[in-house]
Amino acid sequence: MGNDRLEEVKDRIQRIGNLPTLPKVATEVISMVGDPDVSMKEIASVISKDPSLSAKILKVANSAFYGLSQRVASIQLALVILGLSRIKNLVIGISVFSTFPIKPGQPTFDREKFWEHSAGCGQIAKILADLLKCEMDGEEFVAGLLHDIGKIVLDQFFHDQFVKVIDLTFEKDIPMIEAEEEVVGTTHAEIGSWLAEEWKLPLSLVEAITHHHSPQEAVLNPILTSIVRLSDLFCKAKGIGFSGDTKGIAISDRIAWKTLKSAKPDLEDLDVERFVFDLDAEIEKAKDFIRISSERVQTKEKV
């Protein structure tokens, strides 16, 4: 059973070294946002203690990503304009890149491509949520960004097995998740879910990561999980990612589509073609996000 193998995987990671952790400031912000006694000012001061993170938040806030009409010059102002939840999600999103830095030029598992796919997914989730008028305060973006995070853990701690997974995916022409079951005995969804729990990420995020291949099993926020699933598929349709999957996808057949449609009937009228045509420009915005998040920021405080 998958569960035993997952325990083995956990054990092995604990033995080899440490489970990658989110930067302290991110964990702090996550718990502070959930605490009604904490003021905005206090949150701003915690974030401001990390100059690199602060600089990146401001850069993203002022980029096409949000398309704000007003320039945001301080973290406090960013909190006021974008709101607590969006800033929290932004902190999570940006922090991931210091936990799993991009190492370019990996032949088997190209992290640059991986993040391109992930951020593209996040970006598509963001437009889908806008289009369907589900206000999610940026949680959909982070969910898209993190949905495959378990793959990075596999690549980092079980590299040889992960290479086999990738080979098998191509060889047998099966979904990666099936190859993982066969080779590792557990999946990137399960591992990602564990990591998200360890990181104390919001529960709806944990759920989206756990069930992004089985959105029908989501109970907390099936809309979020379905949006992530669909974004993943749209991303594949745009050829963004490393899977090399050429299979055609009928969006309307997907469980995620049906789940979402029962909650949002106007989905039926979505001009899917036009939506797909428009994705190129959106994916460029996602690349901006990766670029900003993974920059090495030179700040005066650091020197």
């Binding site: 594949k236 050429t246 036009r274």
Partner: protein, 279 residues
């Protein structure tokens, strides 16, 4: 050269208008294309801004006429061999294998229709792809490729099979050397490929003639619909639907959409290609 600039706002208005009228879509990343092509047209009609041009397209009495000039302008010179690789990849790697695999197939046949084939680049491209598949033993019978165009001159050109190198700009070297004879500035398509395609003159609005096309596995009708009015488009798509076998596929231009024309087909997303499937 002109220095007319197209503002983002005007671009979106013109883009949406074209989409409404033709189903052809220019994504934000294709703004340059619209700007370049239309600048020329603006000069011809002696307009000094895109605002004026938009007005002409939207409200003038000559709008229909101007729209068809616009379509000419934006689709010009686009017929080349191996045009739009992602679509051809979907055709070669997924669509054809899937059709061949289907167990309930009646007999050993594969029927492809290139509707609006211009001077033959598209059907010949499909023939080369299928020929390669035959050589890898994907199937043993000879596929039928029917190709037609409304213009007799185009059909003659197609049957002649001689092309300026410009039309081969997207053709991989492998195919160039295997299926063409290079003579001066021209390339001549090989007889083996020529024999695979049956050309004829056909007006796609001629219901009687179009109605004779039956049991088709795959239809290619790329960048043709834009020339038809709304009703004609709907009728043609219905005819295509009828002509296809269950499980058959329809390819339209890579930036064209059937969204406002028909919901009969199932929309299939392949990497960078949208294909319509009859269930």
């Amino acid at each position: 050269m002109s220095s007319l600039t197209l503002s983002d706002e005007k671009f979106k208005q013109i883009r949406d208008l074209i989409y409404e009228e033709s189903g052809m879509y220019f994504a934000n990343t294709k703004k340059y294309l619209l700007e370049n092509r239309l600048s020329k047209r603006l000069e011809e009609v002696q307009l000094s801004s895109f605002d004026e041009y938009y007005y002409l397209l939207k409200y003038s009495a000559k709008r229909k006429e101007e729209l068809s000039r616009l379509f000419d302008q934006v689709t010009i010179n686009e017929t080349s061999f191996f045009r739009d690789m992602p679509q051809l990849q979907a055709f070669e790697k997924e669509v054809i294998p899937e059709i061949l695999k289907r167990k309930d197939r009646g007999g050993q046949e594969l029927r492809i229709w290139s509707a609006g084939c211009s001077s033959g680049q598209e059907p010949y491209t499909l023939a080369m792809i299928l020929k390669e598949l035959m050589e890898t033993k994907a199937f043993k019978f000879v596929p039928e490729i029917m190709a037609n165009d409304i213009s007799g001159a185009m059909i003659l050109e197609a049957e002649r099979g001689v092309y300026m190198d410009y039309y081969l700009r997207n053709t991989p070297d492998y195919y160039k050397s295997k299926y063409f004879t290079h003579k001066g500035e021209t390339y001549i398509i090989s007889d083996a490929i020529k024999l695979m395609v049956k050309f004829s003159i056909m007006n796609l609005l001629d219901e009687e003639k179009v109605g004779t096309m039956k049991n088709i596995d795959v239809i290619f009708c790329r960048n043709v619909l834009i020339y038809f009015a709304e009703e004609a488009k709907k009728k043609l798509i219905e005819t295509f639907y009828e002509a296809l076998k269950p499980g058959g596929y329809l390819f339209i231009g890579h930036s064209e959409s059937l969204h406002s024309i028909s919901r009969a087909f199932k929309l299939m997303l392949f990497p960078n290609a949208i294909v319509y499937k009859k269930e």
